[in-house]
Amino acid sequence: MTTASETLDAFSGGTVPLKKRLRQAERRKKLLFGALILPLAVFVLLTFVVPIVSLLKHSVANPEVHDNLPDTVALLKGWKAANGAPDEATFAALARELDAAKGGPGIAAVARRLNREQAGYRSLIMKTARAVPLEAGAAARDTLIGVDERWGQTEIWQALQRAGDPVTPFYLLAAVDLTTDEHGDIAKAPAEEAVYMDVLLRTFRMALIVTALCLALGFPLAYLMVSLPTRHANLVMICVLLPFWTSVLVRVAAWIVLLQNEGLVNQLLMALGITDGPIQLLFNNIGVYIAMTHILLPFMVLPLFSVMKGISPVYLRAAVSLGCPPFKSFWKVYFPQTLPGIGAGALLVFIMSMGYYITPALLGGPKEQMISYFIAFYTNQTINWGMAAALSAVLLAATMVLYVFYARYLGPTRGNKAKSR
């Protein structure tokens, strides 16, 4: 029998061997197929990747002082606090640039930014701005210190130096409850500002509880589904898929109806004598857990089901026939084989619940909001894009780490297959 390459050699006439011509044709074809990906790649790049990257840039952007007082910042670059207040040229540049910024929106931005570096800076900037421009020939240094003696202190200039950097770790540090002290070292943020670690931990805790609830409900459901005859299993599958395909807002609305004080759930609880009066089930954690578990349960059931379908019941029967008690055989023989499904489902549910916004926003109380709420809050309400971007960076990092782990060890194909059902 001749091999493929021998056959090819036999056909090669001309100067260019056929093998080489074929390889070229193959390469051309691959390039063509590559070109098919191009429209999507460009689309996703321009409308998704670039916006996300520029959002993340906002988390370190620090343009206020750098853009409005460029010369002052440049002159301060070589200045050391140990040498006392800066030289005459720096004072002159500051006076000139404050005068130039006066009247525009720049001065307010500078004042606000510097005030965050050191309390009282806002009034200092505004007071100085009123005193400039300097009289011709006047010494800038003496005049400014005359306006406010704080200009003679090195701390004021150090704060300006720090705030003049075009990038700042401020927002990212704040997102994990850290800050920089007057020496530029990383320190714990003051207690009244240190709220984000709590938010982050709460987000993790809520995601963990939802994942645990989904697993507790999803495991028996998937387990029974694989052991039922096809007809019944299909019926159960419809009960899983119909809510999965129903709009999240429809389900949230339905849960509000069910969980309200006079709702069916409370009526049932009272009829059964479990409580005497209605229990508060809405606008606190209970409602969020019930609805989020409901929304995410299919994402747990589907991977579990596809893994369990591949487990042969023979092993369990063999273990029992060898005298192992039923529960022990289940635990030692069946359960370990479901671990890939548990891992995939749990990680998927955890990742998704971390980023949830709508359900907690509509069903949760004001005190139990997750990190997404604060991202939306800083974007829409206080227009603090730096803080919104920094919290986004933290959430994105957590999501990506978990997702890479999921894709590498638990197989994205498994998750996708389950999703595409």
Partner: protein, 275 residues
Amino acid sequence: MLQPYASPLERAWYYGLRGLVGLILLYLMLPILAIVPLSFNADSFLLYPMSGFSLRWYEEILTSAAWRQSMGNSLIVSPFATLLATVIGTVASIGLVRADFPGKALLTAVLISPMVVPVVIVGVAMYIFFAPLGLTGSYTGLVIAHAVLGVPFVVTTVTATLQGFDFNLVRAASSLGANPVTTFFRVTLPQVAPGVISGALFAFATSFDEVVVTLFLASPEQATLPRQMFSGIRENISPAIAAVATILILLSTLMLLTLEGLRRRNERMRGARPA
């Protein structure tokens, strides 16, 4: 199956598991089953027992300007977003399955990433990026945003379908003289159509249900149905919401049935026995 000679413990386990799963299924279906009848309630409370039967809430959503506008917006934005996502997603999937180059896995991961990145982050990023371009408060911006979110579903379903497609058919067609475009429309597309249609359905459902990004990008004139529901739920939840919900439940049932049909067809065509 429960054997007639099963021990009491086995019986307890058999019925216990079924009882438990029955409760879980009730939990899954109850919200959907409970909200539908309330949309026909005669009075304006979302409470059982109902006081009487009426179609007034359907009349209200069909005549109210806000609901009609939001339905209209949804019917503009979702089809365009679906079309965009399906066309470029399908074309790219063919490339992804057939081309081979370094970094393909990474590129695929990037193309799928809109499915993974928390949607709040997507909303904020697009808001900050689109605002200076004049794309916030515009239908174009909304269509683009919804298409990006739908694309990963198209790519994953179409790629999965293409993996079972025999590319020898394409080779046969071109050896018989068909040009690539003809081959695509006459040979490849009919074969992978179930995958493309399910991908499109996923993209449509994603867009039709999308509210977070819409909250950031849309001005009141572009409020979609979910956006209108969001404010309806937040401000004053009434049986009108239940009526909209019922229509949406009907729609999702229809999509589920279509998908199930497509899945079976796809399995039949692969020679596998339908499940």
